[in-house]
């Protein structure tokens, strides 16, 4: 049936209706156009984690560490409180455990901001160390909330699924010792080496560690104990590698780790900061190898050990004559970098860099013959320096300006 011809008045109303409909449509489309949907960024090669003077954190990325200037406030927003610098960075993704909620999150970058792509709820877990046991297989090791039980989570990071979890069969703190610290977890075929130490309770402000480095051998993946070694040459093996590395495996498959008895970690300053070795064909620390840094020309404690290839490594050592105590340990520039001959246990030289600040930082990255070192100097500013392993030359590269106060991480985001 055909509609009846409409009277004039009704036509007018219809035009108004049409117009308003049109305008509403226009408004809606404009609204959606403005609601920017960000796309995943093409990941860049390198990632830096920065801290400003107010404790706010930023992540910035670049393809070029050799030159340029980045001001974090111009390219990104400060990270939310839930994301901290103890991160794992790999293949364009960031992995971070939320301390309060025990949620382990995988992030990607969208419009230069971290964007959560998947979550995993962990339980009663505090992260200490990580180890990639496969391309997408991550072994997380840590402690329960009481810090007296070693735990692990084996995670498939592609699907963000827990493959296995439980406790690591290592010796619990006994007697006067009530808590522990896991320093390193290293895998060789079907054996896992777990390095750790134990601590007495903090009384009247005294914190300290046992004088012993414990190394448990576990079967992998069952995590059952098959041996325990006690090495009393120094204590607090290798620190927390989500914050700073103190261990590496060289081309021959020999595993090296550094003890951290300085005030920033174990606080057994009577014992030396030293490098230990577990040879590829051995399951215990090499009794003939003990690279004592505290008794070398460095004669200080150190935190941070990075292998640069060809039997050489860089350490970041403190200067006890420049800081007063724990209160100014992170704010006073007092850190120096030394190049070491690992095989022959010799200090090659001190790198001619300005004094660096920040107690523990993941600040050394190797790319072929170039070693990039992030330095926060009170006088020279915040720069990525480049050390050429071939000719020993040091050059200033990328500058971190604006609000940047500390470069606490320098990671390879993409291989």
């Amino acid at each position: 049936m055909l509609p009846m011809p409409l009277p004039l008045i009704s036509m007018k109303t219809n035009i108004i209706k049409c117009l308003s409909f049109f305008f509403i449509l226009l408004f809606i489309s404009w609204f959606f156009a403005c609601k920017h949907t960000p796309s995943v960024d093409q990941p860049k090669k390198y990632s830096m984690h920065l801290l400003d003077m107010e404790g706010k954190e930023y992540i910035v990325t670049t393809d070029d560490l050799d030159k340029g200037l980045i001001k974090p406030e111009n390219v990104t927003e400060a990270l939310p409180d839930t994301i901290s610098r103890n991160m794992i960075v790999k293949d364009g993704h960031y992995y971070s455990l939320q301390r309060k909620s025990d949620i382990f999150t995988k992030y990607t970058l969208k419009d230069n901001q971290l964007f959560a792509v998947a979550h995993l709820q962990l339980q009663d877990y505090n992260e200490e160390n990580f180890l990639w046991v496969g391309k997408d297989t991550l072994l997380l090791s840590g402690l329960n909330n009481l810090s007296n039980t070693a735990k692990y989570y084996l995670v498939n990071t592609k699907e963000m699924k827990v493959l296995a979890k439980g406790s690591l069969d290592v010796q619990k703190p006994q007697g006067k010792f009530i808590s522990m610290s896991i320093g390193f977890v290293q895998k060789r075929q079907d054996t896992l080496f777990v390095g750790y130490t134990v601590h007495p309770p903090i009384q009247g402000g005294n914190y300290t560690s046992s004088d012993t480095t414990y190394i448990s051998q576990l079967t992998y993946p069952e995590m059952k104990s098959i041996g325990l070694q006690k090495d009393i040459r120094s204590t607090y093996p290798a620190g927390i590698n989500t914050v700073q590395h103190n261990e590496f495996t060289n081309e021959q498959g020999d595993f090296y780790f550094m003890s951290c008895p300085g005030i920033a970690m174990g606080n057994r300053t009577d014992l030396p900061t030293a490098i230990f070795r577990i040879k590829a064909n051995s399951s215990v620390t090499d009794p003939n190898y003990f690279f004592n840094l505290s008794s070398s020309v460095i004669s200080n404690h150190a935190y941070g050990l990075w292998y640069v290839g060809g039997g050489k490594a860089i350490i970041r050592s403190e200067r006890k004559d420049l800081y007063k105590g724990l209160s100014d340990h992170y704010s006073t520039p007092h850190f120096e970098f030394y190049l070491l001959d690992i095989i022959n246990q010799k200090v090659i030289k001190k790198l001619d860099l300005p004094l660096d600040k920040g107690t523990r930082k993941e600040c050394v990255l190797v790319n072929g013959d170039s070693v990039y070192i992030a330095v926060n100097s009170a006088t020279d500013g915040n720069f990525i320096w480049k050390y050429n392993l071939k000719n020993g030359k040091l050059t200033k590269g990328l500058q971190l300006g604006g609000v940047s106060a500390f470069i606490v991480r320098l990671d390879r985001l993409l291989n």
Partner: protein, 215 residues
């Protein structure tokens, strides 16, 4: 005491007696008070006219050249503008007076004898979590805080505190949370760190703080 323009003037010239001062401050703080009493209705219109004259003098000339027909509501608005201005001026004076105090705050002495529990204290200027076996004494002369143990402090405005063991005053910013530790017998001395930077502390101390304060 009835607050009037004279009294207000005295107040701002700092000539009030204690009683008068209290009355003015009461009047300023109280929202349910009578309208401010002028000396007379004539005064009131005089003040209004003065303010209006000032306004006209300040506004661009073109506006005063245009002489629109003034509707009845014009007079109502005129009064409202004058009243608004008057309130704004009073408000800014009060705001100025209220905010003119420096960053020093009254810090309370406390002693938490429990070996496990955390005590919570909330004041106008900060909220405080006092760790187990923590005490603070304040030197009445110097205002220096003698702290033993651990506290977590979140200032509600920018504040300054002086601790025994520190060379200078410590600036604590509004909205941030700080961890302050001190021990006389222990091996770390006074440590002041933003909660966000907890990770820079030795892991053993970090874990203790996380457990104690549930942070």
């Amino acid at each position: 005491m009835k607050v009037n323009a004279d009294l207000l003037e005295k107040y701002h010239n700092d000539l009030c007696t204690l009683q008068e001062r209290a009355a003015v401050e009461d009047w300023l703080m109280n929202t349910e008070v009578d309208e401010l009493e002028f000396h007379s209705g004539k005064d009131k219109s005089l003040v209004k006219n003065e303010i209006w004259a000032d306004l006209v003098a300040m506004s661009p000339q073109e506006i005063s050249k245009v002489k629109p027909i003034k509707p009845a509501s014009y007079y109502m608005w005129k009064g409202a503008v004058a009243a608004t201005l008057f309130i704004a001026v009073l408000g800014s004076i009060f705001y100025y007076l209220a905010n003119n105090d420096d960053k020093t705050v009254e810090f309370l002495a406390f002693h938490n004898k429990s070996a496990l529990k955390v005590n919570h204290i909330s004041s106008k200027e900060y909220s405080l979590a006092v760790g187990p076996e923590t005490s603070a004494e304040i030197n009445a002369h110097s205002g220096v805080i003698d702290l033993t143990g651990s506290i977590l402090i979140s200032p509600k405005k920018d504040i300054e505190l002086k601790f025994d063991g520190a060379d200078s005053k410590i600036n604590l910013k509004k909205g941030q949370t700080y961890i302050i530790l001190n021990s006389k017998s222990g091996n770390h001395g006074l440590i002041i760190v933003n909660e966000r930077n907890l990770i820079s502390l030795p892991p053993v101390i970090q874990r203790k703080l996380i457990q104690e304060f549930d942070i």
